[in-house]
């Protein structure tokens, strides 16, 4: 894939917050300025960009570059190597595409991508926290899943949503390379989680159509859960009455539960969950409860023991 310079997408200064500049200064005194410079993310000039010009998430952290977002992907259907997915996925055909929405609904419907684009597309800047203890800030384009669900009208028996990724071994080498998983990729949400306004069906990043490595043409984004819940390249959405068993839940139930809410207090056997590396930064930052969306979503889990329901 032709590398796209971040500077071609969004003006450089928009990535560089005052905070990062100060951080860069701190690093310089620590004698590690070269590494920071090689990251290409230390501001030039006086660094005093007008805060109003800087695009950040609501916590004031700058967006990750388009290049980082599109070249660091967990997508086992292509490869377990995050930096190889983009290349392996570059010829993946995403058109025509259909998403079958059915199950316990009054109006089952098969949506084409054009049908999905009829929903009002919004920009949502979300943090994405991977269970591997790294994170990014990503400007998604999409619409709340609730709008789609309202169209198909789940019946009162519908308790959960089950999502399914495309299964296409001819285009995706991972199926043959990693036969130990119960393909296709499955994920699930509880109805109230699915109806939450933060839950997004995304079709783009940085105002451009999603690239295959990011889950083109349509994917889920649930920002308060670990990244693997945000299933990619969706072909099927079913309203069901039993809790769906996700691919990861089936593969390693002691590591990956159904909920997978970002929670610094519940550890994973391999990766610490109390802190994370924001891609492009030095050191690590503390992981926030529900990935910083506690105010919005904590009520969904009020009476639940999150150590058991991880």
């Amino acid at each position: 894939m032709k590398k796209i310079k971040s500077s071609e997408i969004t003006p450089e200064h928009q990535y560089l917050s005052r905070r990062e500049f100060l951080k860069g200064m701190g690093i310089a005194t620590a004698g590690a300025a070269i590494l920071a410079a090689c990251n290409g993310r230390v501001p030039e000039g006086n660094g005093a960009a007008d805060p109003a010009d800087v695009i950040t998430d609501e916590l004031g952290d700058p967006l990750n570059t388009f290049e980082a977002i599109t070249n660091y992907n967990n997508y086992y259907e292509f490869s377990t190597d995050k930096e190889k997915v983009a290349e392996l996925a570059k010829d993946f055909i995403t058109s025509p595409w259909e998403v079958q929405v059915g199950g316990l609904v009054n109006n089952p419907k098969t949506y084409s991508i054009d049908d999905l684009r009829r929903f009002e597309i919004e920009e949502r800047i979300y943090r994405l926290r991977c269970v591997e203890a790294w994170s990014m800030v990503i400007p998604w384009n999409g619409f709340p899943l609730s709008k789609l669900l309202n169209e198909v009208e789940p019946t009162s028996d519908g308790k959960y949503i089950r999502f399914e990724t495309i299964y296409d071994p001819e285009q995706m080498p991972g199926f043959n390379r990693y036969p130990g998983y119960e393909w296709p990729y499955i994920e699930g949400l509880r109805m109230d989680e699915a109806m939450h306004d933060l839950t997004l069906l995304a079709t783009g990043i940085y105002g451009k159509d999603l690239l295959p490595q990011n889950g083109a043409p349509v994917r889920l984004v649930v920002p308060w859960k670990y990244g693997f819940k945000s299933i990619k390249s969706i072909v099927k959405i079913d309203v069901v009455d039993v809790m769906p068993i996700s691919l990861w839940n089936a593969a390693a139930p002691d590591e990956y539960g159904f909920y997978a809410n970002v929670n610094p207090n519940v550890d994973h056997p391999r990766w610490t969950q109390s802190n994370e590396r924001r891609i492009g930064e030095f050191g690590r930052r503390d992981t926030l409860m529900f990935n910083g969306y506690e105010e919005e979503v904590a009520h969904l889990y009020q009476d639940m023991n999150l150590e058991v329901n991880y």
Partner: protein, 209 residues
């Protein structure tokens, strides 16, 4: 001078080869070619280089057993010391760049994650081995030197466990290393060694019949 003259081509090859990963790393660093997460990339690279050199060091004795090729025995020390060098860089990156001297996080990471505990243990074994790798220490420690340096095998085992425990599900590469290490270790077992030692004689005896 005499010491230098004794070094054969294969030793020179090791000394050059051992610096190549570092040179490549610096080159990629300079050219901003370390991917979206350069910290992870350099951590992985230095770790893998340390493991490779340690395994090569451990392979020397078995190679001599199998092929009766004595010059490799002289490579054990430089390979081991270079392995320690990369392990030190690996650890320094972990402390100073990955965790940026955040001691609270570092202590948590080091002592709560099993892969980190074994990784640290590997380093703690390699440290005295590297320190005592000089001729002076060899002389001072006499018989104990050899005993002490058998710990290199323990370091090899721990290094592979470190690798197995740190990778995510679906990554099989560390298991190849485990297989390789198992072969190397089995060649150290007396019975296996004797079998291998006798093997050429036996085949010779057979062909003479």
């Amino acid at each position: 001078m005499l010491e230098k003259a004794k070094r054969n081509y294969i030793q020179i090859l090791v000394h050059i080869g051992a610096w190549i990963p570092l040179a490549l790393g610096l080159w990629d660093f300079w050219n901003v070619n370390l991917g979206p997460d350069p910290i992870r990339e350099v951590t992985l690279r230095t770790g893998k280089t340390a493991l490779t050199l340690l395994m090569l060091s451990l392979a020397c004795t078995p190679i001599n057993t199998l092929f009766k090729f004595k010059p490799v025995l002289k490579l054990r020390r430089p390979l081991g010391v270079y392995s320690f060098m990369y392990a030190s860089i690996h650890f320094s990156i972990f402390i100073g760049v990955d965790y940026f001297f955040n001691w609270e996080q570092i202590v948590e990471a080091l002592f709560e994650k099993r892969y980190a505990i074994v990784g640290l243990s590997t380093g703690l074994i390699l440290l005295p081995l590297a320190i005592t790798s000089t001729k002076g220490w060899k002389r001072r420690l006499k018989k104990n030197w050899k005993r002490l340096h058998k710990l290199a095998y323990a370091a090899g085992v721990l290094a592979v466990i470190h690798y197995i425990w740190l990778v995510k599900q679906g990554v099989v590469e560390p298991w190849f290393w485990a297989g390789g290490l198992l072969i190397l270790l089995s060649l150290r077992v007396k019975q296996v060694k004797r079998l291998v030692d006798n093997f050429p004689k036996k085949t010779q005896a057979l062909s003479n019949q």
